[in-house]
């Protein structure tokens, strides 16, 4: 089965080609069916691959060579796929969650005239993400890496008549590109030092110690790659594109935030664990940036009123947790959280989409309330997701988040305390969102109230499936205190080597768990009491700063964007037109003036040019003759 891995990206590619070429002629329904089936087919193949990799007889990674991509002198980059534990797990997440999002979209996008085009983009998105995780070298990863950037650009700006949306799309692409430059430099460093981009050869040399670098060089390589991850996975300082990215259709947000795209950075660092294990400084930077982002995202989320914005900042924050895990060297834990997060974050976004649909496009939670009565399935599944993300025992998020926090504790208790604080905020803002949306009294118009309804099966079934996964998904990674086997860590262990040991005494572990669960429950109660009788007075002071996202967008605008534009304008006006061009024109004018004089001696312009040419040649001949004599 692993040898057939090329089928996995092939199906979505075919789906993209059919929908992309037939966007004018295909009926809408056909576009949806083709799009969804292609991802389903990939999922089935991925399942087969997963079980093969899981079986005891599986020996090491399977490399499937497709063709030689670049062969130039010493540079050899084949287009090769690599099947191992890490890639096979990501295949399942991408195609599984991706498929549910496709199914959901068939109903959600039903009334949009661009539906076939939408599915073409969606398939291309999945295809790119699959390339990203399947590549057997950094360049193939980079192809997928930029590919998902493109697809997010196309989908965020899907409703291209709205300028704000296309601005958001552009912002996403450009911020990703800034990160991509880091990735590019990282690749060139690896290539320069090790002469290869293939994982097998590069990690083999790292582990075998064939080319030993100074510690600085390891750190530089790791940091450059991490800059790529910062852009793609929306970490400080390049996170501001992600909240704006919700300009796209809601299922796209689910795809970007859960199954694809933002998890790429985590994948990349987990994949490069052999390198990061040699680069402790880089790891510390990863941990600090991750933790800071986790905190920043959580603080902003507590004061947002747009249902999707709350979720977007929650993603920023959760990604921060994953980087914290990577930074302390617990790579498998980060991957575990990627998986559980994919389930509950997809569920949250799809649930939000269901609400927005029922509300006729309204996204402001101040105008919602008591919606649960009208849409029970959406309410219950959403509640499950909230419990999961808040880390309530029994739900998937509990296991993965607990593992991150205890790994952080082993590394340094300070990391744990800050992380636990951010996790506490998570429980608060999620339940603030839940209570304001689903419970209490409806605060919208009568007309909107009349319109409230549960969504059709194509929407609710994916919600139910994801809700089930959000519950059971955590049991593959039980904490040490509860069980001797952490299945997911074991599964990934041949590929991903954690940095250090995260063993804790059982008592400490129970205690840490107790603290975080206690805090979460407390926060749920606080959120309930504060939203029971909501009155939305305009925020002042610190709350206003949070509502305005710490004014980071404004800051970037004032410090980077506008000065840069002004600088470019100055260059255009003065250096280019007045300076260089002015000089050239001056010369031109002088020549022209001279030619006007000379023309008096000649019959016409052409004659003049020939004259000058001949004169010049004679002079030059003479000069060269003269030089030779010297």
């Amino acid at each position: 089965m692993a040898n057939l891995v090329y089928l996995v990206p092939l199906f979505p590619l075919l789906g993209f080609l059919i929908n992309g070429l037939g966007w004018k002629k295909l009926p809408k329904a056909a576009g949806g069916v083709i799009g969804s089936l292609s991802v389903l087919a990939s999922f089935i193949v991925s399942l087969g691959i997963f079980f093969e990799v899981k079986s005891a007889s599986f020996q090491g990674p399977v490399l499937v060579h497709l063709f030689d991509f670049i062969q130039a002198g010493k540079l050899y980059v084949p287009f090769t796929f690599q099947v191992d534990a890490l890639s096979s797990l990501f295949l399942l997440i991408i195609t599984g969650v991706g498929f549910l999002i496709h199914v959901y979209s068939t109903s959600y996008m039903r009334d949009d005239e661009g539906m076939v085009k939408y599915f073409a983009y969606l398939n291309l998105f999945v295809f790119s993400m699959l390339l990203l995780v399947l590549g057997a070298n950094y360049l193939v990863m980079f192809i997928g890496w930029e590919g998902v950037g493109l697809c997010s650009y196309l989908l965020i700006g899907f409703w291209f008549k709205n300028k704000d949306y296309t601005n958001a799309a552009k912002k996403a692409f450009v911020m990703n590109r800034i990160g991509d430059l880091g990735f590019l430099v990282g690749m060139l460093l690896i290539l320069f030092n090790y002469g290869t981009l293939s994982y097998q050869e590069f990690f083999g040399q790292l582990n075998g110690g064939k080319v030993v670098m100074t510690g600085n060089m390891y750190n530089w390589m790791a940091i450059c790659l991490f800059i790529g991850a910062i852009g793609k996975s929306a970490q400080i300082p390049l996170y501001t594109w992600l909240p704006d990215a919700m300009a796209g259709p809601t299922p796209v947000s689910a795809l970007i935030h859960a199954a694809t795209m933002v998890t790429a950075g985590i994948y990349m660092i987990a994949r490069s664990s052999a390198l990061y294990n040699l680069a402790p400084l880089a790891l510390n930077i990863v941990a600090i940036i991750g933790l800071a982002t986790a905190l920043l995202g959580a603080t902003i989320a507590i004061k947002q009123y747009d249902i999707k914005k709350v979720l977007a900042y929650s993603t920023v924050s959760q990604l921060g947790f994953m980087f914290l895990a990577l930074g302390v060297g617990a790579y498998t834990t980060a991957v575990f959280h990627v998986m559980t997060h994919a389930f509950f974050k997809a569920l949250l976004f799809l649930g939000a989409g269901s609400v927005i649909h029922a509300m006729g496009g309204e996204q402001d939670i101040r105008r919602m309330g008591g919606i649960g009565k009208h849409m029970r399935i959406t309410q219950i599944t959403f509640l499950i997701a909230c419990l999961a993300i808040s880390g309530i025992p029994g739900f998937s998020g509990f296991f993965s988040k607990d593992e991150i926090l205890s790994a952080a504790y082993v590394h340094s208790p300070i990391l744990y305390y800050i992380g636990a604080f951010a996790a506490m905020l998570t429980a608060f803002y999620m339940f603030r969102l839940y209570f304001l949306t689903f419970t209490g009294i409806f605060r919208g118009t009568e007309e909107e109230k009349h319109h409230l309804h549960e969504s059709p099966a194509a929407i609710t079934i994916p919600l139910i499936v994801l809700a089930i996964l959000s519950v059971i998904g955590g049991y593959v990674g039980l904490p040490e205190a509860m069980s001797e086997h952490n299945d997911i860590a074991l599964y990934l262990s041949p590929v991903v080597k954690n940095f250090g040991d995260f063993h804790l005494a059982a008592g400490t572990e129970w205690m840490l768990m107790g603290i975080s669960v206690g805090l979460a429950v407390l926060m749920i109660i606080v959120a309930y009491s504060r939203t029971k009788r909501p009155n939305f007075v305009p925020n002042t002071g610190f709350a206003k700063v949070l509502e305005n996202k710490w004014y980071v967008d404004e800051l970037y605008d004032a410090v980077i964007v506008r000065p840069f534009e002004a600088f470019s304008n100055l260059l255009d006006k003065y250096a280019e037109r007045l300076g260089i061009d002015g000089f050239v024109n001056g010369v031109g004018k002088t020549v022209r003036w001279g030619s006007d004089r000379l023309r008096l001696l000649q019959n016409g312009q052409v004659g003049f040019y020939i004259f000058v040419m001949v004169l010049g040649m004679i002079i030059l001949f003479a000069l060269s003759f003269f030089w030779i004599k010297l």
Binding site: A72, G73, K74, L75, V174, R177, F567, I628
Partner: protein, 480 residues
């Protein structure tokens, strides 16, 4: 013999064009270009391994022979030239030019000159073809160009004329160095140049290089370019930007590098710095342009800057990247101009502040535009990527002490390129629809032209091997 055919056929087509009436010239040009395309294709398939040469005595008293040679680089550029000409002719099939016979006649003469430049194996032959390629362009632009064409072409003329004369002086000087009397053959020139003392090579370098630097163009010798591109009719703009700029780079690789190795080594850091300044500088200026043609012109300056930075970093991978990128840049910028001219036809303006909504009214055109733009910013799996990756590699592995700094600053072009290209798409393609003069999506002939471009973008982006194999020999010769 095949090399002579390659030059004679466009020449004949050009001369005949002057004498036929109206549309005949167009047909003649197309037939001529298709035949050259066929021959170039054959050349590519057979010149990969050993160069093909051909030579007859020309002016023995001066020590010059009419000799031609085709290696991988020449074959690749001849192929590019003939593909671009075919695309240009097809996509402007419906356009009516005043005096079409002179227009197409001059175009074909220019093609003759271009092919001659790429094939010349004798410095004087090279110089003559260099002028043969440029002079028709001068007439084309000044006769069929836009409002300010006289000013623009005058500037173009002054620039190139100054450059050409200095180059000629340099060539003559080199030819005189031959111990057995003046000799212009490539071998003799290279031998003469390389045995000059370094100090001489250092000043001689500028005498010859200025012409090429203007043609590429390298900052700060570039200001003729935006004006000329803006004022020329689209077919001429395409010839200038897709092909003529390659003459400069080609000449650097074919003549300057082998002939003046010490001069090149001495000045290479300077040129790399200038090129990199050019990348950032041109990208910044492209960001604030409102005229599509000027934006594309500055974008092209930035791209050429990257190529010349890689050239003067003197690494094998960089040289190989240049070969690939010369071809791909030619294809992409051709596509860019095609779209720009379609926009101008339909909306009557190139001012981006007055455009919008192409995706709503002309979706096919919009899709093509987006794909070509993505190739312009070197998205992976488009043809722009492979070359750019190799170029960055080349700069990165360069011998200079500052090689990593150079690469990182050059890399800023990657980000800035995305900014201005996506700005252009946003302003022209998205948003509310601006009323058009002619409401029409792609016509059949435009469709064919754009389709060839896109097919090449994707094919060479996914499978660059043919291009890489064709040029690996010459890249290895330049820098092993």
């Amino acid at each position: 013999m095949i090399l002579v055919l390659l030059i004679v056929i466009p020449l004949l087509a050009g001369i005949l064009s002057f004498s036929v009436k109206n549309d005949g010239a167009k047909v003649l040009a197309l037939i001529g270009s298709l035949i050259t395309l066929g021959i170039s294709g054959y050349l590519c398939s057979s010149s990969g391994t050993a160069p093909i040469t051909w030579s007859v005595p020309w002016i023995p008293s001066l020590g010059t022979q009419f000799s031609l040679a085709a290696d991988g680089m020449s074959a690749m550029l001849c192929l590019l030239t003939s593909i671009v000409f075919v695309i240009v002719i097809i996509s402007s099939w419906n356009k009516t030019f005043e005096k079409p016979n002179s227009f197409w006649g001059l175009m074909m003469l220019s093609q003759t000159g271009l092919l001659g430049v790429f094939l010349a194996y004798d410095a004087l032959v090279f110089y003559v073809f260099w002028e043969v390629a440029l002079i028709p362009v001068y007439f084309l632009a000044s006769r069929w160009g836009g409002e300010k064409r006289i000013q623009a072409t005058f500037k173009f003329f002054v620039y190139t004329f100054v450059g050409s004369l200095m180059m000629l002086a340099g060539i003559i000087f080199l030819a005189q160095q031959n111990p057995g009397g003046s000799n212009y053959s490539w071998l003799s020139i290279v031998h003469a140049g390389a045995s000059l003392p370094p100090a001489t090579q250092q000043w001689l370098f500028w005498l010859i290089f200025i012409a090429f630097a203007i043609k590429m163009p390298i900052f700060p010798f570039h200001t003729w370019q935006p004006d000329t591109y803006e004022q020329s009719p689209t077919p001429v703009t395409i010839i200038l930007s897709a092909l003529m700029v390659k003459m400069g780079l080609f000449a650097v690789l074919r003549w300057l590098f082998p002939a003046l190795p010490a001069g090149v080594a001495f000045w290479s850091d300077t040129i790399v710095v200038l090129s990199i300044i050019g990348i950032v500088y041109a990208s910044c200026i492209a960001m604030v342009q409102t005229d599509m043609k000027r934006l594309v012109a500055y974008s092209s300056i930035a791209h050429m800057g990257l190529m010349s930075a890689a050239a003067f970093s003197s690494t094998n991978i960089g040289m190989h990247g240049i070969m690939v990128q010369m071809f791909n840049h030619g294809i992409n910028i051709t596509g860019m101009w095609l779209i720009v001219s379609m926009v101008e036809n339909r909306w009557g303006t190139r001012d981006m502040t007055k455009l919008g909504g192409m995706a709503s009214v002309a979706p096919r055109m919009a899709i093509a535009f987006v794909i070509i733009s993505l190739a312009n910013i070197a998205l992976p799996l488009t043809n722009g990527f492979v070359g750019e990756f190799m170029l960055f590699n080349g700069i990165f592995q360069g011998a200079s002490d500052y090689h990593i700094t150079f690469m990182v600053i050059a890399g800023l072009g990657v980000i800035l390129g995305a900014v201005y290209t996506l700005n252009m798409i946003q302003k022209t393609t998205y948003g509310n629809t601006v009323e058009m003069i002619v409401t029409k999506d792609l016509t059949v002939n435009e469709y064919i032209g754009v389709a060839i471009v896109i097919a090449l973008i994707i094919f060479l982006g996914v499978y660059p091997k043919p291009l890489l194999d064709l040029t690996s020999g010459i890249a290895g010769m330049l820098v092993p």
